[in-house]
Symmetry: C2
Subunit: 406 residues, 2 copies
């Protein structure tokens, strides 16, 4: 498996575009992305567990009932959530894509991100969808353009692609995603779109998605707020020419490995680009009692507001790490818990068997001066491992969210 360029257009059979259609007042900010496949694709999705759900999610579930899709339409600037006519509007958008791109309306998957509860009209879509179709291209630039169009408070676009082998055939898998606040995904992140040319049956695609999110997107948090619009969608064109993956085995495993690689990368990228973040915090847990406990402990550490603020202040306040491990739900022992703070600048052993381990504050400050920080936790209890990604809590996070709508 190796990293390649091309993002959402890296796999054979996918075109993309990003345009400004007028949902946002700022004309220089693109607000509509379109991904269209040359052929009808096996497709799958995972969505937020929030009881308040964006209207597009209702339409996605309906359109994915048969396991196939051919296009994804995404707008930023308005979440189309808590709006009386939301589902109707999302359905009309699919019809506009169908007409302009020559695909079936039931094969279009809509997604929205932005402010919740603001009125939205069809008008910008009537203008923007044909414009997006006219710009569709199978290029790295087109993927960039789509990745930019789905951004809200994100400071960088998020895209990634890998090449891998299934049954002797070279396949590609690429993704774009967005998300920097209201990030505590529970099934998927804010918005993530994946394309692959691997041939895979819809049921196996859905299975792979569910399997992968547990250790990737669900282990990432910016602010503990599980969004109403979290959506991860994937389309598989099958144009790589591999024998279709329709059961478990080496081919399925290769696919899951590639999907995990991208999803882990995207989770880290999203946490790193969390609203106002100045540090990426990765917590690795080893020798956990079991997998679920290890996951929960790692996530608890990267979710602690207090520890997040300490990282912003470059303060090696390891007591807050112990505190966060200690309030993790579940029945486990903390007596053998050891903790290291690590980065490119070194490794500092701060806690041994749940008590202070002598260390140099100066060395710790050097470690915490780096952008990417690792909290390495050894629970000394079992054999399970897990990882979670988060970011620091900064003045800028408060500023962004104290005045998001204006």
């Amino acid at each position: 498996m190796k990293e390649i360029t091309g993002g959402i257009c890296a796999a054979k059979g996918f075109k993309a575009a990003g345009v400004h259609c007028g949902i946002r007042a700022n004309r220089t900010k693109k607000d509509l992305a379109l991904i269209v496949a040359d052929v009808r694709c096996a497709a799958a999705g995972v969505y937020t567990t929030n009881k308040v759900k964006g209207a597009p999610i209702t339409v996605d579930k309906l359109h994915l009932a048969d396991g196939y899709a051919q296009a994804i339409l995404v707008n930023s600037g308005n979440a189309n959530t808590c709006a009386a006519n939301g589902v109707e509007l999302a359905t009309q958008c699919c019809e506009l894509v169908a007409k302009a791109a020559g695909v079936a309306a039931e094969d279009v998957l809509p997604a929205s991100t932005g402010v919740i509860g603001q009125p939205m009209t069809l008008e910008p879509f009537e203008r923007g969808i044909p414009a997006a179709v006219a710009e569709l291209a199978a290029s790295a630039e087109a993927s960039d353009s789509a990745a930019v169009a789905i951004m809200t408070t994100d400071v960088t676009k998020k895209e990634y692609a890998v090449e891998f082998t299934v049954g002797g055939k070279t396949c590609a898998l690429g993704a774009i995603s967005k998300g920097s606040g209201m990030i505590a995904p529970n099934m998927a992140t804010m918005l993530a779109f994946y394309t692959t040319d691997a041939a895979i049956a819809p049921a196996m695609l859905q299975k792979a998605l569910k399997e992968v999110v547990v250790d990737t997107y669900n282990q990432m948090s910016v602010d503990l707020d599980t969004s109403t619009n979290d959506t991860m969608l994937i389309m598989a064109s099958g144009l790589a020419g591999n024998a279709i993956i329709d059961c478990e085995g080496p081919d399925y495993d290769a696919f899951v490995e590639a999907l995990t690689a991208i999803a882990s990368h995207m989770a880290a990228l999203t946490a790193s680009g969390g609203e106002g973040a100045t540090h990426l915090i990765t917590c690795t847990v080893s020798h956990g009692k079991d997998k679920a406990t290890a996951r929960a402990i790692a996530k608890s550490v990267v979710c602690s507001n207090l520890f997040k603020a300490a990282v912003f202040g470059r303060d090696a306040n390891w007591g807050r790490i112990l505190c966060a491990i200690g309030y993790t739900p579940g029945d486990f022992s903390i007596d053998k818990c050891c903790v290291w703070l690590e980065s490119a600048a070194g490794s500092v052993y701060v806690c041994e068997n749940a008590a202070y381990h002598p260390y140099s504050e100066e060395e710790a400050a050097k470690v915490l001066a780096e952008h990417d920080i690792v909290v390495r936790v050894d629970m000394g209890e079992g054999e399970a491992e897990a990882k979670a990604w988060g970011c620091d809590l900064t003045y800028e996070y408060v500023k962004i969210n104290g005045d998001y709508r204006s």
Copy 2:
């Protein structure tokens, strides 16, 4: 029932003191509080559910095994948590109090708050405990002094007392508490100490405590970080002369009512004084499906980082309220959810049946300009009610916690 002065010394039979003993370098900040009862008291406690527990909690549980106590010793500046000699040190402190105040060492309850995992020595206690005993007094000033000595990042001292009637006898119940960060109590708040002169059996006292914290301290959050040292202790001297409360009935109910009044007041005071807070956010939920669901919804709203930041920015971003209600665990319906933003400046109806209700942003801004904000939620589903208290998320919170130790 009416509010009275005197705090922790309001009830008959209690003396208090607060001194500087040298745990903190700053000589102008008191760091040791002592509460001593004239007689041996029925006593009870509730503690953090964090698996990492302050050493004093181990000693408290041991000393409260018989249901009686006579003194409470509290230091700020060091949490005595994750220290190898913590329990030994806390036990030695009890012996020092026993010697200086003439009570049994097993009737002394220690408590600590401050930095986790820092070494602590007996030396400041050897000096401070006799000094505190020398200053013990049964006065409002002595209660103030103790309330100040237990503060860490608190900006105001927290004390409150009420007078109530049990079986025709006038009783008093008073409290001091501290806590402004690492506040997401789970059984009790950071540190809270209550005294009463009501006569009540230890078992009923423990029962009352457990009953009351569920709807008071456990419904309050500053930052979701459940502390390692959360402790709530109560001593009942019995000097009011009422017939001892040793079973359920009107006398027990009167006691629980008084305890609830103080605990609710203290919860609101603690949230209002949360680190960096500029607003108290109270969420009231009516017509919830059941009590547990109503509690969880109210707490979810006051815990949302995103909504907390919006309140700081005085932004009526009600979509974030719906989002937080939506990710509350449990099986309930959000379709009939209505929301009002309220304060002394008025009431603004922002959400009807989980969708936008037209309102004036100008009026909403006026409501949010007040310090005390109420989010009134009507779930339209059942008959349960609940309340929760929180505060806004501000630059100052980040500043305080980015550099707490220095």
